[in-house]
Structures are given as C-alpha cells and as structure tokens.
C-alpha cells in the first residue's frame, strides 16, 4: 500500500456521515463547494476542447493519469457546485486501483440523496462521469 488512505467504502460512509450531520441542502451544497475549492488547481492550458467533458450544462474539464496501478483523476468546472461534485467523485474514485473502481458503482450518489436533489441534467452529468471513470478502469483491467 502506497499510503493509508481509507477504503472506498469507508470514504463513502464518511460522506454519508458528513451529509447527515449537515442540517439542510443549502449547507450540503456549501460543503460540496468547499470540497471543490480544496481540489488541486486544474491547469488553465488544459481547459481546452480536448479535455472538455461533454454532457454537462456547465463547462467541465477532465484529465487522468495512471500512477502505477492507481488512477489519478483531475477536473474542474466553471460552476462551483459542479466543481464540488467533481471533488466528491474524486474523493471516492481517485487514487484507486481498477479493481476497486469496478467494485463501486454509482449507487452511493442515490444513497447520499444527490439524485433526488440535483436537477436531472446535473444528475446525468454526474453519472456520465462515473461511467467514464469506470470505463477507464475496465480498459485498464482488460489490458
């Protein structure tokens, strides 16, 4: 093990606990946006068409790199809530192995209550990104 990062399941449980602690959705969005602000900056020169992640209402850029057997994810959005949602996804999926990623589908988005509270467009954007991440893992596992 490269570090002592919590397992995916522990990370999802931590998110659920944090969400439960927050009183309402305004506070949850504040928390989501704060997670986004703590993400490493996404380089300006990569905010181009090649790195654009389509299928979102706001602009989203996405990049990845395999660090040994672990998938490093980077991304950003011009909308702060979307940026925060990207950070939330990366908390779950970034730095994980292909097997770990493939073992975790997007059910936690429902369990966090996000599907019910996000607009349909945003919920679709979120599941498209999970699909993309899992597809990268599947390609790696098949290679």
């Amino acid at each position: 093990m490269a570090d002592q990062a919590p397992s995916i399941d522990a990370e999802i449980q931590a998110l659920k606990d944090e969400f439960a602690f927050l009183g309402d959705w305004t506070e949850r969005y504040q928390y989501i946006m704060d997670m986004g602000k703590q993400m490493p900056a996404f380089p300006c020169e990569k905010q181009d068409e090649a790195h654009k992640f389509h299928g979102c209402q706001s602009q989203v850029w996405f990049d990845y790199e395999w660090d040994g057997d672990r998938l490093d994810l980077r991304g950003t959005s011009d909308a702060m809530i979307v940026n925060g949602l990207i950070a939330l996804l990366f908390r779950v999926y970034s730095g994980r192995t292909a097997d770990e990623i493939l073992a975790t589908d997007g059910a936690f988005i429902d369990e966090l209550g996000l599907s019910a509270h996000l607009s349909a467009n945003r919920a679709t954007g979120l599941s498209n990104m999970i699909e993309k991440i899992r597809q990268l893992a599947a390609e790696r596992a098949a290679a």
């Binding site: 959705w25 949850r28 946006m33 011009d78 702060m80 809530i81 996000l118």
Partner: protein
C-alpha cells in the same frame, strides 16, 4: 370595481388559495415559485375541468354521432370561442388549436413561405425566443431566406428607430414577441404593426409571455397573427392557439395532413376542409383545449387593473431589492416590463445561483432561456438567473427571494 370606479385592493391570498401546487414545501422550505415565464401553476377550476371531462364527456370530436362525441365536440368548440373572445378576435374561425407557440410559428413558417423566393426577407428582433428564430432559419436554409433583426439596446428595449431601415421590398414578414421571456421587456407591438401595415407587410406576434400579464386585443394591436400557449396562462401544457386575421387561413396552404382537416380524399386528389379545421390534422389535445378555455374564462373574470398594480409592485420590489446586492447586475431594465428580472452575480455561475436558491425553496430559471442570440447581445454567454413572477406571488415572497439571493451571493463570491 367599486361604484366610484376605483378597483379594490388585489386580494392575492384568495387567488393563491385556488392554486394547490403553490401550497407545498420543497427541500423542507415553503415553495416560492418564481419560474412563471417557464410555466404557470394551474388553478383548481382548470384541474377540475380536465378531470370532469375525462370522468363524463371523453370522446373523440367532430366525427361521432353519439352523445359523448357531441358533448366533447361542443366543449372543444366552446373553448375555441372563448379564446376568440379573450383575444378579441372577430370570429372563432380565426383561431387554430396548436400544441403551443412553437407549433404555431412552425405552421406559419411552413405555410407562409410557400410562395417565398430566395432572397426574400423576414425581420425578427434580437429579443426573440428560439421558437421564433429556428423555424425561420429552417425556412432560410430550405429557401434562401434572409433574416434581419431589430436591435436591442443596453436597457433591453428594442431600437424601433432601426425598423424602417430594415424594411425592403423583399420583406415578407415581421415576427416579434409581445413580451421578452428572458428580460421581461414589453415590446411596442402596436407601433411595429403600424409601421408594417404602412408597407403592406404582415406581422406575427409571439404572445407566449404577453397573455399571462394582461388582456390581449389582437385588433387593437393590429397584428395579423398572434400565437399563445395555454401553459403560460394557467392552463394545461401541450395546447395553444394561433390567431390569424380575416382570410389568412383561407389563403394559406395547410401544414400537417391527416384526419379532420379534409373534405374529400381520393387517391388522385384531396380537398381540404375550410379553416380552421384545415390546420387541425389528427385528434387534437381535446381536454387540453377545454382546459385552456377554462383557464381563460377564469382569468377573464379577474380584476386586471388591480393585477396590473400588483405586478408593478412585485417588479419594483424585485428590482430595488436586487439592485442593493453588491456585485449583482440586472440584465434588462426596459421602461415597460412585466415582473421578470434577469440577473448575474459577478464571479458566480447562474446554475449555482439557481441550485442554491432551489435548496432554499425558491424556484427560478437559469441558463440562456432559449434566447442564445440575446444572451450574446447582453454579454451573458453562460446565461442569467431569471425570476419571473405571476400575480399569485406576494411581496413577502419577493422579500424572501431577495434575501435568499443575498445569501447565495455571500456563499458564491
């Protein structure tokens, strides 16, 4: 009206009580519904009318000899007559049922352009909704039609002085909205029609946002065509009306072909029914048309002078409240507006504004409002946040909205 002719104060609470959807909580907060330019909520009388139609009178119209069909046909045609009266059309024969403004304009784009030639011109305005842009672009692609536009100024008013210079001997139509969905500007449609008439050019008015804010008199406006959507005016979705003055419907070729729009069909020819049937192919949205009629009948019974004052107060409260928030830019401050306010906050994405307001129970619209060319004109490429009030909104709701926007601004900036 009282005996001395003065209107009573507007009793907004008794109006609200007729709208069941307004009385609910979202995300644990009381709903403040300020997305009325997208669609309006429905009064109980409209909901009941549609339910009762299905419970008692449901049948297909115009072709049955049985009692239910006769009842349904009568109610459908009564709705047409009600719409004609509400718009002050001369005759119900001038009213075609359509799915909404979008279909009405597609119908006209198809049928009016039948005899147009390459190089012919249509004048639109920069304030238009995509529904009054895209059908003309499609005609343009098919026939080589040129689109010209009346410019909008920084305040969101049309630069009407530019209109005479846009008119040429190739101008076939002027098509503008009555009220801008994105900015709330009330356009000087009667003046546009007067100019057009002097040149013998027909005028189409997209009335989607006009009818919800006051009675419309198509004869006073002087337009040749007026299109409206039921769902914007407290009626059901999926139905609307196209008004076409005088003999226009006789002169135009049909749009869609099928049942109900014919007199005789043989494999070597077809004779069309007289208008408006000629433009109503297939089984229409029967309960929708009847619900639309019920909505207009209900609206016609309201005190519109009092409503006008109430809506002006809502607009003033929104405008003044938002103007005090640092970094907030109001987009569109035309002299004559309905209670619709588009705005931006420096450093904040409109979608974030909308999502955070939703978490506080407040429904607004964010984005380009189906008016991408206008968003470029007003330098808001990512769109705006838009609050659009109806007469059932209260000043207290506006205060809640303004306070929520101030809080959202603090969260995002």
């Amino acid at each position: 009206m009282t005996d001395d002719g003065r209107t009573q104060p507007f009793d907004v609470e008794s109006i609200r009580a007729q709208f069941p959807a307004l009385d609910q909580q979202v995300h644990g907060k009381p709903l403040v519904y300020l997305d009325n330019a997208a669609t309006t909520q429905k009064p109980q009388v409209v909901i009941d009318t549609i339910r009762e139609f299905y419970e008692r009178d449901n049948a297909n119209i115009h072709r049955g000899v049985h009692t239910l069909s006769a009842r349904a046909s009568e109610r459908f045609e009564n709705a047409r007559a009600r719409i004609a009266r509400s718009l002050n059309a001369e005759s119900e024969r001038e009213i075609v049922f359509v799915r909404g403004v979008t279909e009405a304009i597609n119908l006209l784009a198809h049928s009016l352009s039948d005899d147009w030639q390459a190089g012919d011109e249509v004048i639109l305005s920069e304030l238009e909704h995509h529904a009054n842009i895209v059908p003309w672009l499609m005609v343009g692609q098919r026939k080589g039609i040129v689109i010209r536009t009346i410019p909008v100024n920084d305040r969101g008013d049309l630069e009407l002085d530019a209109l005479p210079g846009l008119i040429t001997d190739k101008t076939r139509l002027i098509a503008v909205n009555h009220v801008s969905n994105a900015l709330g500007t009330v356009n000087p449609v009667a003046r546009i029609a007067e100019t057009a008439q002097a040149h013998g050019i027909p005028v189409l008015v997209d009335g989607a946002q006009g009818l919800p804010h006051g009675p419309v008199d198509v004869q006073a406006l002087g337009c040749n065509f007026y299109a409206c959507s039921s769902h914007k005016v407290f009626g059901p979705s999926g139905v609307g009306a196209l008004y076409a003055r005088g003999d226009w419907l006789d002169r135009l070729p049909p749009f869609l072909g099928g049942g109900d729009m014919i007199e005789e069909v043989r494999f070597d020819g077809v004779r069309f029914a007289p208008p408006p049937s000629k433009f109503e192919a297939g089984t229409p949205n029967i309960e929708g048309a009847i619900g639309f009629g019920a909505a207009l009948e209900w609206a016609d019974g309201l005190d519109w002078l009092a409503i006008e004052r109430h809506e002006a107060a809502l607009l003033q409260r929104m405008t003044e409240g938002l103007a005090e928030i640092p970094g907030l830019r109001l987009v569109g401050q035309a002299a004559h507006k309905v209670p619709v306010v588009s705005f931006l906050i420096d450093g904040a994405h409109p979608h974030d504004i909308g999502t955070l307001l939703d978490s506080m129970g407040i429904a607004v619209r964010t984005g380009h409002h189906c008016a991408m060319p206008l968003m470029q004109c007003v330098e808001a490429p990512a769109g705006t946040a838009r609050a659009s009030a109806a007469f059932y909104n209260t000043l207290d709701e506006i205060d809640q909205f303004v306070a929520a926007v101030a809080r959202v601004r603090d969260m995002l900036v």
